[in-house]
Symmetry: C2
Subunit: 206 residues, 2 copies
Amino acid sequence: MNFSSKHLENAVASFSSLPGVGRKSALRLALHLLQQPQEYTQEFVETLATMRLEVQECDTCFNLSDSNTCTICANPQRKRNLICVVENVRQVMAIEETGHYHGLYHVLGGVISPIDGIGPQNLNLEGLISRVEQAQETPEIILAISPTIEGETTNLYISKQLEPYKPVISTIARGVSFGNDLEYADELTLSRSISARLPYATQHNY
Amino acid sequence: MNFSSKHLENAVASFSSLPGVGRKSALRLALHLLQQPQEYTQEFVETLATMRLEVQECDTCFNLSDSNTCTICANPQRKRNLICVVENVRQVMAIEETGHYHGLYHVLGGVISPIDGIGPQNLNLEGLISRVEQAQETPEIILAISPTIEGETTNLYISKQLEPYKPVISTIARGVSFGNDLEYADELTLSRSISARLPYATQHNY
């Protein structure tokens, strides 16, 4: 691209350093800022800077939080002996969105993936172990990690690590998604959904 | 979305106020900033704020510039009696990209579009007229506006306005694009490209 302004060129480079933003989109975003009043950009950059400075990880569950303890951990209504282990904060948000889970979370920050150089020491596993160790009543651990090879490896590793404390460990149900045609489900999912069949009209209440 | 952090929520709202950025992409961008070192966000916001403060329009051609006169207008190598009229700065960049145009520009800032409430008074037309009026030798005006109904209306309006000064007025060639199959060209484009046919191997040098 031929820029008539060095500052514009820098802004386009900044925008296109973001994931999923190409050079053309970056230019559109930069020109958008130029078309809006000065105050718009002012507010935009202040909001981002504040977020980067203020947002931290919850000391207990490693969820994103505005203080040392996140709103979920601090909520007395939440069942304290139910811990849902997830990869990242996006999954916490997805589960919260359902409105059907009333326990706590533990954000691992990834899954074990030797090919990407991520071992157990890179995950927030020690925190999980000490939560289970220090629990007043034996907690139930729900492993809600994506059913990939790395995810299954991580599930296995966590269950081994937690074995000495004898918690109840479950994984989220694998099966055919609502709205999906059985015909298009892969064989593994379909065979598991048959072997893990449930009594009709089963209600889960957490 | 269920946010565990108010600051994160604000940042997602800011990102999704940008054109073409949805809520999910906005969340991904905000989380990306959180994953990078503090300095990354610092530099990101400073670059954008500086751009918004420093970038201005060129006093002559209304192209984006870091000073009163843009690098194109200030370049003594450029032919001063050739003015290419375009809608916006993206089109200046597109033409500059070709490397085949060595004249000056005039950025209108839009096209006449009564349906969007844009009349001639909203465009940078006075500047164009005074450039033609004050030119030392009769300039050639190339109308490089998108061939839409609004674009053609704008072309007609500009040519009427410039008539008293008797400049040479041309429009960019309309025709079948390189690499396109004739079969798929629309009838208007195809019929014009036949009536405006050129001697084989014609070279245009500006």
